[in-house]
Amino acid sequence: MQVTYTRNVFLNCPFDEVYQLIFQAIIFTVFDCGYTPRCSLEIEDSSEVRIDKIIKVISECKFGIHDISRTELDKDTNLPRFNMPLELGMFLGAKRFGNDKQEKKACLILDKALYRFQIFISDIAGQDIQSHKNDDSEVIKVVRNWLRNVSGRVTIPGGKEILRRYRLFKMELSTLCEKMKLEIDEMVFNDYTNIVFQWLKCNP
């Protein structure tokens, strides 16, 4: 596995079906900006302890995108999910208490509405918090602009260009899956990332 700390972006997001619209748009944008999206889903080895997988991936990423929008209570348990705030805390802890390399970490915190976080996680005030409005075109713009600012890289394409390519990719994804004899709902994280990467290589 290639480990390139400065080009890795840790994704701390909900993994449910409802969030797929936003999640897939973030993954595409990170690739199109010239970075590798990383998350705990990439490690399919179930013998590894989940928290160890997450710590390892966080330590290998300079950048992090944390979506804290999932505050609803679970329909079955009537309890909220705390994984995203926990992983955000781990990322901020690594930046605060880590070595010289870890201190250079930068993160973007996303919610569905601006300033909503002040009601449920006010301690993160002062961080870079932006809203994606549950809209894929908005999240593409926000992630692209943030990566452009924190990296200073002039080669990152414009938001409208990424959105144009993403729309075309989404339009072709079902045909691609058909040709690969893969059901869209069977596509796991590593399948999706490899398809996006190869598609972008063929559609520069």
């Binding site: 590798t36 490690i43 072709e172 990332t193 063929c202």
Partner: protein, 67 residues
């Protein structure tokens, strides 16, 4: 003398190539901004072989251009 070099003959030195910021005004597109970004590969391989993915993409691109 081109717009990319500075004449240093009166200083007894060879001509100097200008830095991009000396050539391009603020807001003007420099060659650096037209450079392509380098794509980074995924951290892990897919269960689907790479050649199968590429073949499917090439077929879709061919269909796209024939429409």
């Amino acid at each position: 003398m081109t717009k990319y070099t500075i004449d240093n003959k009166d200083k007894g030195q060879p001509d100097r190539v200008k830095a991009p910021k000396e050539i391009y005004k603020a807001g003007e597109e420099s060659p650096a901004s037209r450079r392509k970004r380098k794509l980074m590969p995924p951290a892990r391989p897919s269960r689907i072989p790479e050649k199968v993915i590429i073949k499917a993409i090439e077929e879709v691109i061919a269909q796209r251009s024939s429409h």
